[in-house]
């Protein structure tokens, strides 16, 4: 299907991206043939689409108890804990095979109107995504979406409705880029990813067709509106392989890189992305705290302080505080660092918000590691129950002390990566001068956040199933 839109203009000879070091994975014949194959990534999409259909069916029509429902286990014990790991290992590859993307493409193929993305969405889409993510997190706590199979099913159907609307109206993967609640999170997390896709500037400088963006009649252009020639971030690339297939010059390279490397050289920091990075830390705190025994005490205190036991009110206040604390702390660090690097608070906030992302990923994976490893067998148990085979026994894959040890290690890794990222951002933007004065306040912040996570992981957590 040809995309009815103007080609990229102009194709200039400015070379914004330096040659990508590292071995090009596409030089491997097997990998190159696989990516260029007509079956890639379709075969993965069919698989995820089928599983998605089964999951939605089970959530809506299966057992009403979460611990008996395969849909709940597959979504919240398996997929949700694994997705940040996916982002680290393979960037936004999940987005390339996500069932929502497939539904979008199907709707677009048959009834799509391919309108351009509205300017409002281009400008504020990231804020829409952030708001949706927070809304879903809030809804889960207030209405219990995770432990309600029907609730989870309805949530997926609501999102599917949004996908259908987007696919019917707009071009390419407008949903994935500007509306998907996971888009902001995956964009941020993918920056820590170990795989990079880039063009070869020397080959692109001679190109006059930009098939990577426009398509070539047989293969569509980039569904995520990216232009590989100028792409300096992996936050949007979903490894669909279209650019690899369509490029007439074999310019595309896929290389392995150090995790978080992309964060070291952020040239155009965006407040929305930095804010999301900070807010995610608050959300991880909320998710942790509400699963601990101490939560009842905290809740009672808030009820006393607010003179209401309405959970909607008390939880909203809790969530707001949990998000405001990291924002306030980062603002404080930005204020102090600004005295050293002479940059504005806003600019410091926007730049160094990205430094929190590795710790975000570590804390997120750490929290969900508990669910995956302490309840992981529930996926198998509930799958067997689909065929009438009852299973008994512990759902744990590993014991709690081992899981805790892994969580602490993850926080340690995340802290190290975040500290180094803060250092590199400082060197990139402010040179060798004022390194200590700039890095120190952020280092204290990162240390505080890490200690908070360790303390929370030290306490016994409730299960989802």
């Amino acid at each position: 299907m040809a995309i009815a839109e103007r080609p990229v203009l102009p194709i200039t000879n400015d070379i914004p991206v330096s040659p990508e070091p590292g071995h090009n994975l596409l030089d491997n014949g097997i990998i190159a043939r696989a990516v260029k194959s007509r079956w890639y990534p379709g075969v993965f999409r069919v698989a995820t689409g089928a599983v998605f259909a089964l999951v939605v069916y089970e959530l809506l029509f299966g057992p009403s108890l979460a611990h008996e429902n395969f849909g709940t286990a597959a979504t919240w014990v398996l997929w949700w804990p694994l997705i940040p790991v996916f982002f680290i290992l393979m960037g936004r590859f999940w987005c390339g095979i996500c069932p929502f993307g497939t539904i979008n493409d199907l709707v677009q193929k048959f009834v799509g109107n391919n309108r351009p993305v509205p300017k409002l969405l281009k400008t504020y889409g990231i804020w829409v995504i952030d708001a949706m993510f927070l809304a879903i997190t809030w809804s889960d706590h207030v209405w219990g979406i995770v432990e309600s199979p029907a609730g989870s099913g309805v949530l997926l159907l609501i999102l599917t409705t949004g996908v259908v609307v987007s696919g019917a109206l707009f071009q390419r993967r407008t949903w994935c880029r500007y509306l998907c609640f996971l888009g902001g999170l995956s964009g941020n997390y993918s920056r820590t990813g170990m795989v990079r896709l880039a063009s070869t500037p020397a080959k692109c400088s001679k190109c006059t067709v930009a098939a990577c963006y426009n398509g070539n009649g047989k293969v569509e252009g980039c569904p995520m509106f990216e232009f590989p020639r100028k792409m300096d971030s992996m936050s949007q690339c979903n490894f669909c392989g279209n650019c690899v297939k369509s490029c007439p010059n074999n310019s595309i390279r896929v290389t392995v890189r150090t995790p978080s490397e992309e964060l070291w050289g952020i040239r155009r920091p965006k407040l929305a992305e930095a804010s999301l990075a900070v807010v995610i830390m608050g959300i991880v705190f909320v998710q942790n705290i509400t699963m601990l025994d101490i939560w009842k005490t905290i809740l009672a205190w808030i009820e006393n302080a607010t003179s209401t036991d309405n959970y909607v009110v008390t939880f909203t206040i809790t969530m707001a505080i949990a998000m405001l604390i990291p924002i306030a702390l980062l603002t404080g660090s930005a204020l102090i660092a600004g005295k050293s690097n002479r940059d504005s608070v806003l600019q410091n906030f926007a730049r160094f918000g990205y430094a929190i992302i590795p710790l975000d990923v570590a804390a997120h994976v750490g929290h969900n590691l508990f669910h995956l490893l302490a309840e992981g067998k529930s996926v198998a148990f509930t799958a067997l129950e689909l065929f009438g085979i009852q299973s008994q026994g512990s759902t744990a894959i590993l014991d709690n002390p081992t899981i805790q040890g892994l969580q602490f290690m993850l926080i340690g890794l995340g802290l190290a990566a975040s500290l180094y990222t803060a250092y590199r951002i400082t060197r990139t933007n402010y040179g060798a001068q004022s390194v200590f004065g700039t890095v120190a306040p952020y280092a204290v912040l990162l240390l505080l956040l890490s200690v908070a996570n360790i303390l929370l992981f030290s306490m016994p957590m409730e299960m989802r199933m």
């Binding site: 990534p41 219990g144 409705t161 509400t290």
Partner: protein
Amino acid sequence: MNTLRIGKFAGGRVLPAVVSGAMVLFSLLAFTRPALANDPVGGQLEQVTGATRVTMAFDGGHATRGLNGVTVNLRDSTGVALESDTVKVTLRMDPSANMGSHSMLNLDPRTVEMGRGMARGEYTGRVEFTDPGMWLVTASFDLSGKESEVTFDVDIAGGGPNWLILGGLGGAMALVIIVAAVARKRKSRDLAS
């Protein structure tokens, strides 16, 4: 997208085949699904404490979400009805079965005092199960000055999908698809002319 090219390549037969396959799969699941064992045997729950046999039964044979009529019977080991000055039924959701719940709603216990039924040793009342899930239903009574209680596990099923919501969302999707198809056809016609 390449997924769609697969359909084209195979002569347009892949998509209908996938849809048909999905329908068959769903049908198979519907028949292989084991019966959900929410109901007690014979529609009656029973427990023994000391020399007292306590039975609890819900109107209609099983408890459902919402208001339920409940009957508690007290008998001794020989089946003779026993009378208590007060019989109370307390409901609370089982926190261990509903763990992982982020929502703190509906965890507070609620107590209902039962009235005397038609027969001796029979006590009736109405209780409300506000949410699906596992509930702990405790019947407490007083026999010859001695207080006792027994607790029953009552599993409240979700009551099936909310067809209003499902229908609404499905209808919205269908409407969007139809409108988009019509708009696209008009656009193609305008371009052609």
